[in-house]
Symmetry: C5
Subunit: 354 residues, 5 copies
């Protein structure tokens, strides 16, 4: 399961602006993918190390540097120097326990997001931190591990016919945000299906096992919520900020991602509501089941206790018990017992218990 | 039941602005109805295909193109080119998993709504997406399937004496929104009746079956809420937006739909509150019922256990049990039993159990 | 019981601005009371029909037309023409399923309110719609049925010494609003008393019947809330609107009604809180009661089951049971039984069950 | 217990601005204390009646008139005329069912507060209404009954060395508000102690009696909340209002009372949260206790029912029951019984019931 | 456990602005640490007493006076005079029951915070009040007791290479705030771990003991919330206030602490949500367990009651009971008993109870 809070203790007491990797180390190797494109051509390279940020930007077109793995602090420092990033930005990239946020540093805008996907054991949702930094002619993106949801974007750039090729770094950054938000929908789709299944089971035959499924669903919603809610502020902030780095015709796309995010949030809230409803259903089923069990017990006890009492009565060994000597004593007692049973059954039927 | 989330997976990874039909295909055939009117005359045509948006607009009067079925992406593209729509608008029309919203593109305003009606099996509420686009002299409306709530509006236009004939495209668009919101009231009316019925049943004799009715009501409220809440923002946004496409004297009508929407929202919240109350009543009834069952069991057991014990006592086979030889032994024991029973009944009455 | 939603189906499909009576027809006859006053004199008339609104306004003083019964749409139309009302206003007056609101039409202000009173069978709160329209020199008020809370205002005008006589139509309108809000207090007073009574009963001896009282209280709070919350917006809107129809020195009175409304809302929320608390108390009582019942059962069973077992043991018919022949067998067994009972009683006391 | 709503029925139908005493009459006698001070001297007088407000204000220094008891409407009228108060103010002073509020009448500011203290039987919190009116050189304060929390302020004025002596009426008014808010803290201190005690009891041994204590705590929080929440608006309103009656250097003190009020509100909300937690604990304890009771019952029944059955079996009177004649029959049956008991005990231990 | 409300009674009735120590006296000795630094050098001194604030500020560099222990009111007064603090500030420093807040007094800014750490018995979270005052060239900090979280900051200043040395008093103040907020994360980390552990236990085998752990977690969240929520306002207030005491390039750091605080708040709310979920799980487990217990009881009773009845039947002593004399009577009865048992077991299996 994803930890709710990352171990930060390694960082306590260090001066602010110190980049220290916080969080699980999800990939062993750090991988740097460089992609440079304009409307005419695309060049792609895998970098071993990074030397000088400036040389990566030829002046025209858009440079996209994608880094997988954020635990190599020395590398982050080099990138930071190369692209002129503020120390707090580097600190935030390597600290994977960040709340989604954006910051406008004038020359570049820094956005932190959470990417969610089912964990390997498909037991819980895993959150992975994604950082996107974009300036006038470059985009830096940082992920904790592969696989990435950015591959389709890369494909579109390569393919050459996409809108992204004719537009600037702001549109590329938007495409990355869009890919992350799109990914939330597919996650919600899966969760929604599991929830519908659970609902059908609950309404037919509830079992104690379902309470764990319910708890898991609820926990996932809590995690989702924590990741997606702040994203709304991020996107509306980007829109309101009206940074010079974002062209006018990109805003309509940002508005579109914003709408999608609000839709995701609505759906999360709806799911929370539904899960609350399922919990109520489950509790009611438990109560109903208890009532049924107790009814069986009460019916059995109420019928057999009087009968047993009558039988015990005539099992007493008193010398003087006239009934015992009557020739019709036994049949009469049997009749009495039948009468008692019948009476009690009538009583239960009147109470609508049977 | 309406799915809570539509399958979007077909769309994941595609570039933004690509129109792909998302959602259930609710109508087989796409149908295009063209209606052109001004204060003097009305012409109506069923179109096979659409060639050129411009030719549909003769320059005067209002052109209303109503499309039933949104899965024919090629057709949408043609309409889009004809009326100069943004690719994101076309994408949103064909993606039926949209949150209600409006967008002002300058030349036209795009509004997405949800129309709700009882499903065919009348088991759950179905949500259908309605898109309305209006410009200076045209209105485009898109529905997923027939039947439509727009028929009365069409009737009024045909009839010739209606206010709508003397006014522009903005008033027609308003009439369509009004028809959708009016429809919510009739839905709430039905739900409200079912709820009142359920309440009466719950207060007289609760059965386990009711918990499913309660769950269904609650689920419907969740769906309704998700559809109607965003509509409020849409309408207040339209009002505040003060677009040049909407004439001054139409705003008072928009304000009216806005008020209706707030009323619908109030009613939904009231219903949610009531359903919560019914759930509490149901849970209390279950507890009360359990108490009653247990009381019966306890009374029976408490009376017959001592009696049976006394009977068993005198069923022991000890050689030396003086009571067994007393001539009044048996009657005395019977008397003792009557006394015990009487005492216990008094005890229960004092405890107000019987 | 008051319906939660009024039947609106009669209206579905009609063009907006069509006055159709929606709701229960609460009075058979429509009654029109005309009252004209200035600081010097008062004239009062009962009208059969209304011909021309203008003639009712002599130019000086204030004209108050009070209409009881809103189902006579033809009459409303006449009044509408006479006083120059917008069709949407007439539609709203006759549709008694309105959310409280106000609208400033420049020449007049239209206010919709809900008046609440105990129903005839005093089983539930009834909501009645009140419309107040005031211009420079006239006030129109519409009620669904008699009796009215406006009578004291009328009395004060007749009496001649009241502040209302020296002031304009705006002050009269304020007096009507004040009368409606004052009425909420007396309703809350009654509900509060019922709630305190219920609380005392719940804390002494809860019975299943109380769950219906609780439900009724809760339902009434839901209805009250739905009626009063929007009134706050109405009054703060009137205040902020700064319409030319309201004189400066009337605003302090409007502010006063506003404060009263907020007080009513506070009290409603407090009541909701208290009712929630009573429900919790009731549920806890049920659980406690169940515990007590089960304790009695368990004590009885735990004591008599071992005793009965011992008795049954010596009721076995084995030929070789040496204890049966012991002369002290019977007394010893009785002693054993006493010892067992004593031990169990000690056990229960240690567990604090008895 | 403090009534949740005061009887207002006496007032229904009266014209607005009519002073009528609403609420319990808490003091028999009305007492008027006059205190006049400046930096140099203090004069103090008890007034029998009030004649002319003006004569009470010599032109320099601050005049403080404190009235205990608000049911003497005639006296209030005299004071009102003397100090030029608006009729609505007088109405609000005598109506003790007010929501805390402030109103700026230009020449004076009117503030309504609630003072809370434990009732005489210390069974519930009592709310008492305090009105403070201050102008350029006077302060009027009205209380329902003695004892007052204003005594320390009076002491400080008499003592002569206090800051209050050098400052104006605004600072005195602030001192009174501060005294009321300070009083909330001591109340919360008591409630907090009761709550901690209750928590300790609940975690050790919950008894049904505690549910009444919980309910009382909750009810008190509801009352407190209703009194203190509006005070926040009052104080921030006073601050924002920037009335000419309040000197610049008094605002920092007003800000301080505001902070205290927010702190009180925070604490109330924290307490509400804790009480909710205690209720959950209590409910869980009830469930746990029930489980324990049922476990005892089930263990006893499960052990003795089979044993009794075996004993009954060999108590049957069939002529041909070979076991009865075996010499080792009886011991073998006893052995069987021990084995059954042992097996069941093992079963229970495996289920972790014992 | 930390008291929810501190005893303030010592203060009631005192004039505002009187410094009185409120709260537990956490350290015996008051300790004053003086640190003066600029980019070039650092001087450090432990002060016995404080004479004159001015002399501590040589005109260049930053003076940091850190006081441990706030119960020595006389000392506070001296410091107050030395640095020109308002009496209300001194009052707030010594009253340790403050809500986090900040106040801009022009020449200096006063910030109150809560530092949280596990108590000595590690039974509950302890809250300690920290006051930070900073002006153009000085920082005063007050703590209730050692150990302090400010030590790392002191270390960094001594080390000489840190950014803090090159910047002003505002950056030092920020560093102190940052240290406090960082500390919240490590606390949340511990709480999160305890919560995850509890969750695992709850999902495997719930015991009554866990309900105390749940309650403790919940209580801690309430305390945390009360301490951290107001901090958000403090930090956004500092940012918006744009005081001249804070340099432009420090704001980005303040923004960073603000983001951390929001993250802490998000995490607290997430934890509250999770704890609510755990409580539900626990309640469901209790219900499930009860159902299981009752099922065992019911199965046992339902099987053995009929069997015992049959056995008792043939233990009756009627003279004329033909079955008793049948040679196959006994075996037939045994067979009947086996049949009854089998039938009941089938019944239970069909009901899915076994």
């Amino acid at each position: 399961m994803t930890r709710l809070v990352q171990k930060r203790s390694r960082k306590t007491g260090l001066p602010p602006g110190t980049a220290v990797h916080i969080g699980e180390k999800k990939s062993e190797q750090t991988r740097i993918q460089l992609l440079h494109y304009d409307a005419v051509q695309v060049t792609e390279r895998e970098l071993e190390d990074i030397e000088d940020g400036e040389s990566l930007r030829p002046g025209t077109g858009v440079t996209w540097v994608h880094v997988t793995g954020v635990h190599d602090v020395a590398l982050l420092d080099k990138i930071g120097r190369g692209f002129g990033l503020h120390p707090l930005v580097l600190e935030d990239i390597s600290n994977t326990d960040q709340r989604p946020k954006f910051e406008d540093y004038g020359d570049y805008i820094y956005v932190v997001l959470k990417m969610l996907h089912d964990g390997p054991s498909s037991r819980d949702i895993e959150a992975e931190q994604v950082s996107v930094i974009f300036g006038k002619d470059f985009v830096l993106s940082f992920e904790e591990a592969e696989p990435t949801v950015f591959d389709p974007v890369r494909e579109r750039i390569r393919a050459g016919r996409a809108r992204v090729r004719e537009r600037g770094a702001d549109y590329l950054a938007y495409s990355l945000l869009d890919a992350v938000v799109d990914n939330y929908f597919s996650l919600l789709e899966q969760v929604g299906e599991r929830m519908e299944l659970l609902q059908d089971e609950l309404l037919t035959l509830p079992t104690p096992r379902m309470q764990q499924s319910l708890h898991r669903l609820r926990r996932e919603m809590v995690l989702l919520r924590k990741s997606v809610w702040p994203l709304r502020e991020v996107l509306s902030g980007l829109e309101r900020g009206r940074s010079g780095l974002i062209r006018e015709d990109t805003y309509i796309y940002l508005r579109d991602v914003y709408d999608h995010t609000v839709h995701v949030i609505d759906t999360i809230e709806t799911f929370r509501d539904m899960i609350g409803g399922l919990m109520d259903i489950y509790l009611m089923s438990l109560s109903n089941r208890m009532n049924e069990i107790m009814k069986v017990l009460t019916i059995i006890a109420t019928i057999f206790m009087p009968l047993s009492f009558i039988a015990s009565l005539y099992g007493m060994n008193f010398r003087h018990m006239p009934e015992l000597d009557w020739p019709w004593g036994y049949p009469l007692v049997l009749l009495l017992m039948v009468a008692v049973t019948g009476g009690l059954l009538l009583f239960f039927r009147r109470k609508k218990w049977i």
